[in-house]
Symmetry: C2
């Protein structure tokens, strides 16, 4: 059993880029990804899977077509599959995302904010 304890702060210290998920752990066919976000992301959805956001530090907003949710440190939110959403953060915010392996950050849309997938730190 080679698995090791994973310290979130130590992992966050390893990268600076925004909107660029880094994989820190795998559970069955799901991945745990750390992301630093600031500014506005793009509208997108994930047609085949729910997506969990856990805010580790800062304040994350997620716009939906009918409302905006504000998620603070120590809070989490489950975005249901197929629901359009657009994350945004006024100041830098550190989050953990949990979703199946292979999910692209921009969903079905491939654009300039589409990050390389399955990048481990």
């Amino acid at each position: 059993m080679d698995n090791k304890v994973i310290n979130l702060d130590s992992k966050f210290a390893l990268f600076a880029a925004h909107w660029s998920p880094k994989v820190i752990a795998e559970m069955n066919d799901y991945q745990f990804k750390l992301v630093k976000v600031e500014g506005e992301f793009v509208w997108h959805d994930h047609p085949d899977t729910d997506e969990v956001f856990i805010v580790i530090e800062g304040t994350l907003n997620i716009a939906f077509r009918d409302k905006v949710e504000t998620i603070e440190s120590g809070e989490m939110f489950v975005v249901p599959k197929g629901i359009e959403h657009k994350p945004f953060a006024e100041n830098e915010c550190k989050i953990m995302i949990i979703e199946p392996k292979g999910v692209l950050n921009t969903g079905a849309k491939d654009g300039e904010l589409t990050a390389p997938n399955d990048v481990w730190i």
Copy 2:
């Protein structure tokens, strides 16, 4: 879209029992469970799934047959499927567990520490 922001501290305030997982969220067929632990759990394994432990407050130890891992607040650990483990904590510790819906806390063993499953708060 009825999903709401989930505040971990508020959810932890809703129960006191040790070793009794409470479900706070579902992502596809996976569940997020909060648990307060203190003292020793039992040796067990989950033959069909990995299991993720995230420590929210306090210090969690997980004994394996060949070593003991110590997981502090802000750290996580993935216990691979089929690996025998025994969580224990000297003082009360608050953790979040992520695993497929239907997994019993004691694995294949049914004993006095087996908690009711799928209890939502």
